[in-house]
């Protein structure tokens, strides 16, 4: 019954839920969500320091929480900016992990496929463990894997939309053709979306807004953990085949008056 670990590069994770660290109502709520979700990996952005900032740094809080820190390249619109941001993240945090984002435009926040491939190639060559945020495009996902990315992170729906899995068929195709973990990132809205991702066979989820912007973020974090576990178990249990017509489960044999 016990499940295998999720392997990302050298790392072995026992939780298949990754969480973002943005837009929680408070730092304490964020920490409570990390605990409730049982996540082992949390994303951070890299931003300019502000003089006079007080209180424990996010870095210190996440280290104390015992999670792996996954720096992202959010806000980068070119491969050059993304590569430099990844290098700054490695220097700041001392990790070769990077969630690579090369965004096409402000309105869609969709990945820029050509910039993404270019940045991924450079970062893999530079020794990074690259987790690219990508379109739900099986061809692009395969190319990213061929370049040497440690995982692929297709979107479920646009970032922050909470629309859930828009194209389950494409996610299945990506998973079917991938030898690296498929971690669905962006657009998930609630627990059932998480269960669907795992039932499709994907290996992990990364959520931020779905938890942080829920009415009760900590309760949603708990629901997400349970949904991940249920969806994953359902996938491993191999669901029944779908049938066009009804098929009675109660045997007809011995039915009275027949």
């Amino acid at each position: 019954m016990s499940d295998t670990a999720l392997r990302i590069g050298e790392l072995e994770l026992h939780s298949r839920v990754l969480l973002g660290s943005a837009t929680y109502p408070s730092t304490q709520v964020m920490l409570d969500c990390l605990a409730a979700s049982e996540t082992e990996m949390v994303t951070v952005a890299l931003r300019r320091v502000s003089p006079g900032a007080e209180g424990e740094s996010l870095y210190g809080l996440l280290r104390a929480a015992g999670v792996h820190i996954l720096p992202n390249t959010a806000g980068c619109y070119t491969a050059e900016d993304a590569v430099l941001t990844a290098q700054l993240g490695r220097e700041a945090i001392g990790t070769a992990l990077v969630k690579l984002e090369v965004i096409a435009d402000d309105q869609t926040l969709l990945p820029d496929a050509t910039g993404l491939l270019q940045a991924a190639e450079e970062l893999v060559r530079d020794g990074f463990t690259v987790l690219p945020y990508t379109n739900d495009d099986p061809v692009l996902a395969r190319k990213l894997e061929d370049i040497g990315c440690a995982a692929v992170m297709p979107l479920a729906a646009p970032i922050g939309s909470g629309l859930g899995v828009r194209n389950p068929h494409n996610l299945s195709l990506i998973k079917e053709r991938a030898d690296v973990p498929v971690i669905v990132d962006a657009g998930l809205g609630t627990a059932s979306d998480v269960a669907i991702v795992f039932e499709l066979g994907c290996d992990g989820v990364l959520l931020n807004s779905a938890v942080a912007r829920a009415g009760d973020p900590v309760l949603m974090a708990r629901a997400v953990r349970a949904a991940a576990s249920a969806g994953r178990d359902a996938f491993r249990a191999r669901r029944m085949s779908r049938k066009h017509h009804a098929e009675a489960s109660t045997p007809a044999k011995g039915t009275p008056w027949r």
Partner: protein
Amino acid sequence: MRAKVNGAERELSPGTSVGALVNEMAADAKAVAVAINRAVVPRKEWSAVQVQEGDDIEIIAPFHGG
């Protein structure tokens, strides 16, 4: 000496090291990284590297992100 620090033009005394600038800008320098003119300056070089006239310096740290 003029240099740009996190997007703002600043007057700095000649000979200012990257390390001194980081200490002034960041309360907690634990997880800070620096780029000058779009190249990372490794932490071990912070005390030796001096800011030059016209440098474009970015000092960053982990922040809440998704």
